[in-house]
């Protein structure tokens, strides 16, 4: 465990605009203004339901994009990969706020030589989950009883989703309540157990920030994280104090509660476990038969790095009449060690195949068996490709 601080921005404007003391925004602005970073990737807010990933070197854009966007379930990995594909961006240092699944995707891409992790400063954000924008709109109308277009801000605090109206009025609902009614977090988020981004350079959030304090809880995890913090501190962008025992305890407690909830969700969502072998086969065949070969799941997958010559594409022939297509079996197989459960594939599947769940079914058992979690450590290579050579077997 890294050193933990409570930190807050010295600039009042940032504090007001951003969540929890504005450390993340202040640290990124400081890094931009002092040359530690060449650019920052932010999700530019259009409204509560829509945001567009943007690369910027302008501190004011970073400040504008401060604040949470729970209803924009974008994974930034492929955006970052595309950024580095452009020759003129090679070697540029960038920083970005990341959810655990963004960080894990970026680390997996680094393992696959798509980018250099040393160029990327990952400011991790604790994540309890994201919401689908249209699902939130529906919830606003059906559960909160308000006009979805009148919502100007959303925030998740202490297990509740707060919606702020144009009038300034604030409505709240327990996330548990929402989820009972079929709204709330995306399925992938419900089952996700990676709540604190310990694989990033910094792990930030409001878990562990005690009542009355306006600050961000920051855990420094790597040298890059330390550089970000130090740069912001020494140049007067932030103030810090060491996190108290109590803070650490609270944060751990929240995390454990979230993980427990995720495990319960997985139990609930995993309907396949009740099935016999034959029924399981039938379930996979009938579900994957809906696939229309659009290839979207592969394009958005934050751990896929093959180009058009990918095996799942090149070995797939539409003239085959297999009960499950080669595309799907190869993808399922290849992701057994690498799936991070981010849910992007399911988000974009035009025929609503429950892909997160299916991939998790295959991946969970393999990753457990290998005692391997993808996207946590850049030096752990994907086991599918790395045969562990035990030379003592030979010699």
């Amino acid at each position: 465990m890294g050193t933990c601080y409570l930190a807050w921005a010295t600039d009042e404007k940032i504090r007001r605009r951003a969540a929890n003391g504005g450390f993340v925004t202040a640290a990124l602005v400081a890094a931009l203004e002092n040359g530690l970073l060449d650019a920052v990737v932010v999700v530019k807010k259009e409204d509560v339901y829509e945001g567009i990933p943007t690369v910027t070197s302008a501190p004011e854009v970073v400040v504008e994009s401060a604040g949470s966007l729970h209803a924009v379930p974008v994974n930034l990995t492929k955006f970052v990969v595309e950024f580095y594909k452009d020759e003129k961006n090679k070697g540029k240092k960038i920083g970005l706020p990341v959810k655990p699944c963004d960080a894990r995707g970026i680390i997996e891409q680094a393992k696959r030589q798509q980018l250099d992790i040393n160029d990327i400063y990952l400011v991790g954000l604790n994540c309890g989950g994201t919401l689908h924008p249209l699902n939130l709109r529906e919830a606003a109308a059906e559960v909160y009883g308000i006009d979805p277009d009148a919502v100007v801000k959303e925030e998740i605090k202490a297990g509740k989703l707060f919606l702020t109206l144009q009038s300034g009025e604030e409505r709240e609902c327990k996330i548990e309540e929402l989820e009972k009614k079929g709204y709330g977090r995306r399925d992938s988020c419900k089952m996700c157990i990676t709540k604190i981004p310990t694989m990033a350079d910094l792990a930030c959030g409001n878990w562990g920030v005690l009542k009355g304090e306006e600050a961000t809880f920051v855990e420094v995890l790597t040298g890059k994280g330390e550089a970000l913090l130090k740069n912001a501190l020494e140049n007067g962008y932030i103030k810090v104090k060491e996190a108290s025992e109590k803070s650490l305890e609270v944060r751990e407690r929240i995390k454990n509660a979230m993980v427990k909830l995720a495990e319960e969700w997985w139990e609930k969502l995993d309907a396949v476990k009740e099935l016999t072998r034959d029924e399981r086969l039938k379930f996979y065949v009938e579900t994957l038969r809906l696939c229309i070969n659009c290839g979207a799941c592969r394009t958005v997958c934050p751990v896929c790095a093959c180009d058009d010559a990918a095996k799942c594409v090149s070995m797939h022939d539409e003239r085959d009449d297999y009960v499950i297509s080669m595309y799907n079996v190869i993808r399922l197989l290849h992701l057994m060690d690498s799936c991070i459960g981010c849910g992007q594939c399911e988000d974009v599947c035009p025929v609503d195949i429950p892909l997160t769940f299916i991939h998790r079914r295959f991946a969970e058992r393999m990753q457990r068996k290998l005692n391997y979690m993808p996207g946590m450590n850049v030096s752990e290579k994907p086991p599918f490709y790395e045969a562990e050579l035990q030379w003592h077997d030979i010699l």
């Binding site: 038969r289 659009c294 290839g295 035009p350």
Partner: protein, 527 residues
């Protein structure tokens, strides 16, 4: 990133496109898009390649000119043609604003032949049904329907983003029927009412009696079908008649993004609805001059390119306005270069009547058309003026449309009983029924139209044949098959368990072999 709409079909799926000429475009999913929740089919995913085609330039008689010269030459030549010999066609990716200007120009020239993709259907059905052709029902209603009939439409292949709505309906307890010549590959229907294609070719009325015997299928159902330029008039009329009889609601899907804008045509130039249809324009010798707007005739027609070229070169005048070069470009007297669809500013109306804003910034297409209008009538409108006419016609008022609401709604939701004895309309069938019956031993080729099919790009390079056909031809995996009629084509095959013995299904146009959705062909093994 540009917030745009997929021009692949009438659904109007939202997405972002990002990039430039040098690096190429890239698709990003727009999860907030209410039509498709950010999801896209294979065609939507291939939009970067779709847009990566050779651009059209401003030319007069093949020589490069400035836009000014092209516009004034187009005006001069168009004015020199008799209005009754002129036709205006747009079945592609244009905005409502462009179409409003297009209609304006057509009217200004006194032309009565304006085709936005629905004329054949308009002529097939009585006036009372036209609104049902133009405006569908909100797609959310599909999810809520208790009974769905898929009437000669395969959503997973033709309108993939409709399929998830049907799956949701099923999850909500809906019963799904399909009426088809061949059952759906994905088996989503609870029951399939199969019609025999050969019997249909020989005696359509007799075969359709099977439907009348199954009123239970249609009673109070939402009936999903398709209106394309080749939709068979007999089937379409039958569908509406059954709907009227059983109190069912029709939902007509459309293969072109612009087709729902035919409701602009209904309001602004109703007389043109009886004008020539797409097929007639290309088959009727009376047409001597043609104006194509954002339309690739090789994409929208089933005729082979040679025939299209021959017909186009016989014209006295061909004017083409669009973003990309097409088969018409080198034959056109005047070509006018506009921007690609994703660069356009403007709205579209999708199949459910939702008015969607395309996020581009260019109004070049409208400006070109309005300058031509000025040349013809003397009056010229700004983009804003055209836009307010469109909004007025769609009943939107002044403010920009909200994508979350379906703004254009039907007044009448159910089909009224029809007058008997309507004639005309398109025919899907390749030989005259009855007179020239399909020879025994022949196969029937059925086109399955998809976004790739109509756009003429990314089409599959194989046909589907039945197990029995493969067996009787003793096919080997590496073999090809030769399909022939007037001409022949050799290509790959896929064996499909669900096909009746004598049916061949193709998702790609087989030039020269078949110019209708269903026609008799011969099938042979080719080593």
């Amino acid at each position: 990133m540009i917030k745009t709409i997929c021009p692949g079909c009438g659904l109007g799926c939202g997405l972002y496109l990002e990039g430039d000429e040098e690096r190429g475009l890239k698709v990003w999913h727009r999860k907030r898009a209410p039509v498709n929740v950010g999801k896209l089919c294979a065609f939507g995913m291939s939009l970067p390649q779709y847009y990566d085609r050779e651009r059209l330039n401003n030319t007069v008689d093949g020589k490069p000119v400035t836009l000014d010269e092209a516009v004034s030459e187009a005006v001069r030549r168009l004015k020199g043609v008799k209005p009754e010999e002129l036709a205006f066609v747009s079945v592609g990716a244009a905005t409502c604003e462009e179409l409003a200007s297009f209609i304006n120009l057509c009217k200004g020239l006194g032309c009565k032949n304006l085709e936005l993709g629905l004329n054949a259907a308009f002529k097939t059905l009585p006036e009372s049904s036209h609104e049902l052709l133009e405006i569908g029902v909100p797609l959310a209603d599909v999810e809520r329907a208790s009974k769905l009939v898929l009437f000669f439409v395969e959503p997973f292949l033709q309108y993939p983003l409709l399929a998830r709505r049907i799956l949701k309906a099923k999850k909500n307890g809906a019963k799904v029927f399909e009426v088809a010549f061949v059952g759906s590959e994905r088996g989503i229907a609870d029951e399939t009412v199969l019609l025999d294609a050969t019997a249909f070719i020989n005696a359509a009325a007799e075969e359709l009696k099977k439907l009348r015997a199954r009123k239970d299928v249609f009673e109070d159902a939402l009936v999903i079908s398709e209106a394309n330029p080749y939709t068979d008039a007999v089937l379409l009329r039958e569908m509406f008649a059954v709907c009227a009889e059983c109190g069912a609601t029709p939902l007509l899907m459309k293969p072109f993004l612009t087709t729902s804008a035919a409701l602009l045509q209904s309001s602004l130039a109703p007389e043109t609805k009886q004008g020539l249809s797409l097929l007639e324009v290309f088959e009727d010798e009376r047409v001597k001059a043609l104006f194509l707007l954002e339309t690739d005739p090789a994409g929208a027609l089933l005729l082979n390119e040679r025939k299209i070229r021959k017909r186009l070169s016989e014209l006295e005048l061909l004017v083409e306005q669009g973003a990309f070069r097409t088969v018409a470009s080198e034959l056109a007297g005047v070509t006018l270069a506009s921007e690609a669809f994703f660069e356009k500013r403007g709205v579209i109306v999708n199949v459910e009547g939702r008015v969607l804003e395309n996020g581009g910034t260019s109004a070049a297409g409208v400006e070109i058309l309005e300058r031509m209008v000025e040349g013809v009538t003397g009056g010229r409108r700004s983009f804003e003026e055209v836009r307010s006419e469109v909004f007025g016609t769609l009943g939107l008022g002044e403010t920009s449309p909200k994508e979350d609401d379906v703004q254009v709604k039907r007044k009448e939701t159910k089909v009224l009983a029809e007058p008997e004895g309507l004639q005309g309309g398109a025919t899907a069938v390749g030989t005259a029924r009855g007179a020239e019956a399909a020879e025994s031993g022949d196969y029937l080729l059925l086109y399955r139209t998809t976004p790739a099919f109509w756009s003429g790009v990314f089409a599959k390079s194989f046909v589907e044949i039945s197990v029995d056909a493969a067996r009787s031809l003793k096919l080997f995996r590496d073999d090809d098959v030769e399909i022939s009629n007037a001409e022949s084509v050799t290509l790959d095959f896929k064996i499909s368990e669900r096909l009746p013995e004598r049916l061949i299904v193709s998702e790609t146009k087989l030039a020269g072999v078949s110019e209708r959705l269903l026609s008799p062909v011969r099938l042979r093994r080719k080593e």
